[in-house]
Symmetry: C2
Subunit: 98 residues, 2 copies
DNA sequence: ACGGTTTGGTTTATAATATAAACTAGTTTA
DNA sequence: TAAACTAGTTTATATTATAAACCAAACCGT
């Protein structure tokens, strides 16, 4: 019998977790902002936000701003809940019982 | 410029993290105990503790007990420190600033 | 107005990782 | 003594993460 809950594999990824963590704070952010804050390569970020979108953790909208393409990411209710559940589950692993 | 510290990839793995978390509590445990507590398959556990050993996070000693092979795992100082650093680093991701 | 550079990405190929399946070696039980 | 079980390891495969290559359009100097 296991002591540990399975961690949401979508969030148990450094980059995706960072993205969600940021979006939980700011609600909405540009691709370039996320790229800078996470220090990720554009390619990696592109792939990972796509996965978050497929899971309905975020919404992605594309528009043009000052002549340049702009990709906006916004967290969903599902995403917030998933993050909260992940944090809750992870505590089992981090809080060592003496 | 990145807001997030890189997470120790050796610990950012569900099974290895569970193993280290257990060993931080109990100091020393049998393979079978870890297998039961983590609900891992034997093969997976075998591979993962080997990696922890290679990183010097744990020590592995093999002996016989009641005619059966017994693999004991014990956490090292390095392992404890790595765990503490991991937990510290992870807080950046979990503690959302309002 | 053209060639090179920069912005803002996506797609694709490869490297790394996790996991399961198959195997080994020996023990117990019927 | 054959089948089933204990306690693992090794190997093959599936999944994931990451980087490299690419694309389209905009800007910038000459």
């Amino acid at each position: 019998m296991s002591d540990f809950k399975d961690l949401d594999p979508l969030l148990h990824s450094q980059l995706r977790l960072a993205v969600i963590s940021l979006l939980v704070s700011v609600k909405e952010a540009e691709f370039t902002f996320l790229k800078e804050k996470t220090n990720a390569t554009a390619g990696n970020l592109s792939v990972q936000i796509q996965k978050l979108k497929d899971a309905n953790y975020i919404e992605i909208t594309k528009q043009f701003k000052d002549n340049y393409p702009q990709t906006m990411c916004k967290i969903t209710k599902t995403g917030i809940e998933a993050f909260e559940a992940y944090v809750r589950d992870l505590r089992q692993y981090l809080d060592v019982k003496k």
